[in-house]
């Protein structure tokens, strides 16, 4: 498409240049929409351990533009990683990496920056996958030789994930990385932007508009996921990385005792090879072979990871999670007195001063029962009923009341409904 006919004899198919151009255009539009949706989200998000999840949940439950922006930001973050990856791969296959050495190298840096954006943005919603995915990744950072532990401490703001952690990730995500990206683009891509501008303004703007509209349509129709709030002592949660890191994750399963192979050696070799490539005299066939090998390696490992997880239950979203958590809370917190069947005959009743409520009794249920249950679960009741208001959120308490009603309320007790 641009400035390459002179190297056409190198033997790569012409569509690779088109592919690289298309990926560049997509990346350009995605970047704009990511900045815009990011600014919007920053207005609705609180980077504090106590409130991050609640603020994201609020966006989700309010629906409307907040939920659409979150979906846009979520889907385009995958989109821009793919676009940057395609640009690098197409740059390797064509003569671009040799014709525009430094642009190509900066492209590799941009791809790394995109991964940095994903790493720092992933934790922000503070749902289960955010917390666990990030702890695993910090665990991998720990194994980078010499500097790993120090790096992980700096990212967390200390040795444990705590109050200082989210603000750090947030600052990197919304201030430091964008600044670096802008500098890289301004300093390194000026000629590329000028070349792009010469390609014909109107068609280009039309293409940008189409990509943007398509992005919004996808965002409006496919919600961003949100799992239940992070529970740092939940032994039942099985963390999994995003789809584009599955191959590295699977690779990690085979690296026994040499964690740094995964965390430092493999990335360093990959990036180093790409940086050196412009200086090497390679034929298209060699590069095509190497790229095929790398793609088979990555997609093969990724597919294997999915295959090994085929029996893993799907991750519940927040709403389903509430229902599941209510059932578990009932089992763990309530059943010892109220009984697994809700009959008020749990194993601990001998220790109590009063008989626990029997949820299966028709007399227990009238039109105020639900309100009353929510109140008593929250505040407790003398002599034995403990208060859960400090340990559980109002929504979790309501879900427990709903669980009790759905499971134990006798069918005949439908008075005044």
């Amino acid at each position: 498409m641009d400035a390459t006919p002179k190297s056409a004899p190198a033997g790569f198919p012409a569509w690779l240049e088109t592919l690289r151009g298309a990926a560049a255009l997509c990346a350009f539009v995605f970047a704009g929409l990511l900045v815009g949706s990011g600014i919007g989200l920053a207005m609705g998000y609180v980077p504090s351990q106590a409130e991050a999840f609640a603020s994201v949940l609020y966006l989700r439950q309010q629906g409307g533009i907040g939920a659409i922006l979150r979906a846009l930001h979520y889907h385009l973050s995958s989109g821009i990683v793919v676009a940057a990856f395609v640009m690098v791969v197409a740059g390797v296959l064509t003569e671009y990496h040799r014709d525009r050495k430094w642009e190509f190298r900066l492209g590799v840096v941009v791809l790394l920056l995109m991964i940095g954006f994903c790493f720092t943005g992933y934790v922000l919603p503070m749902d289960q996958t955010a917390y666990w995915g990030t702890s695993v990744r910090l665990g991998i950072v720990e194994t980078v030789p010499v500097v790993g532990g120090m790096q992980a401490d700096m990212l967390r703001g200390g040795p444990v994930f705590g109050a200082a952690t989210l603000p750090r990730f947030y600052a990197l995500h919304v201030a430091a990385l964008p600044l670096v990206l802008v500098i890289v683009i301004l300093l390194g891509y000026r000629p590329a932007l000028e070349r792009a501008a010469n390609l014909g303004g109107e068609r280009m703007i039309a293409a940008c508009g189409l990509i943007a509209i398509a992005s919004f349509v996808i965002a409006a129709n496919f919600k961003a996921p949100l799992e239940p709030q992070a529970a740092p002592a939940d032994t039942e949660y099985v963390p999994r990385p995003e789809w584009y890191f599955l191959w590295l994750f699977q690779f990690g399963k085979y690296v026994h005792g040499f964690q740094w192979v995964e965390s430092a050696l493999l990335p360093a070799v990959g990036v180093g090879t790409l940086m050196l490539l412009p200086e090497l005299r390679t034929a298209f066939k060699q590069r095509a072979l190497a790229v095929s090998f790398a793609l088979v390696f990555m997609f093969g490992l990724g597919a294997l990871a999915l295959y090994e997880d085929r029996e893993l239950p799907a991750k519940p979203q927040y709403e389903e999670g509430l229902v599941l958590k209510a059932a578990r809370d009932y089992r763990v917190e309530c059943a010892s007195c109220h009984g697994l069947q809700g009959r008020g005959d749990g194993p601990d009743i001998a220790k109590l001063d009063a008989k626990p409520k029997d949820f299966t009794s028709p007399r227990f249920w009238d039109e105020d029962t639900m309100t009353m249950m929510v109140e008593i679960i929250t505040e407790g009741e003398l002599p034995d009923m403990p208060a859960f208001g400090k340990r559980l959120t109002p929504e979790e308490i309501l879900a427990i009341a709903n669980h009790i009603e759905a499971n134990f309320r006798p069918k005949s007790a439908t008075t005044a409904r």
């Binding site: 666990w132 991998i140 200390g158 200082a164 000026r190 002592a233 963390p239």
Partner: protein
């Protein structure tokens, strides 16, 4: 004075790079050294009361969910930790529930412990039997004081071949 476009561009780029470079200094300083205050309670000298010795049943590993009150910089907070406790006669043993590979939480398995993240398996003594875990599950010290079992709670860095506490 006339400056051609190329020189102007160069000087503009140099200026932008300088400003950008300068911004990295204060940001980097805070990133590296700022607000790294201790989260008190996570110090390695913390003994946690696990209850009256007589109430602890004999038998294989039991999962504990420890709730610790800590002062995390500007706020008081409660954190939960996963620990496994075993009593054999008068001998108490405690291992951390944190996998030594990347820091996921292990689960009980028929043969001992298993980590669901990268499929590391540990035997009943916490030694790795398969998978990428680089060392056994970390042991924690216990003692009996005034009839109560106390646990010295420590967190260890994942990924290393030896137990290294996370000093705060």
């Amino acid at each position: 004075m006339l400056i051609d476009r190329r020189t102007l561009l160069k000087s503009w780029q140099a200026l932008a790079a300088t400003v950008a470079g300068l911004s990295a200094i204060p940001a980097g300083l805070f990133f590296a050294f700022g607000a790294k205050a201790k989260a008190t309670g996570s110090s390695s000298d913390e003994w946690i009361d696990l209850g009256i010795v007589q109430d602890i049943a004999e038998g294989p590993w039991k999962a504990l969910r420890l709730r610790r009150d800590i002062q995390d910089r500007w706020k008081k907070t409660v954190v939960e930790e996963s620990v496994y406790l075993r009593r054999q006669g008068d001998r108490f043993e405690a291992v951390s529930g944190i996998c030594t590979h990347t820091g996921c939480l292990v689960q009980r398995a028929p043969s001992g412990f298993a980590c669901p993240c990268h499929k590391s398996d540990f035997d009943e003594e916490g030694k790795p039997t398969s998978g990428p875990a680089p060392r056994p599950l970390d042991r924690m010290e216990t003692k009996v004081e005034g009839g109560r079992l106390m646990l010295r709670f420590v967190k260890f860095r994942p990924g290393l071949s030896s137990s290294e506490p996370m000093a705060s």
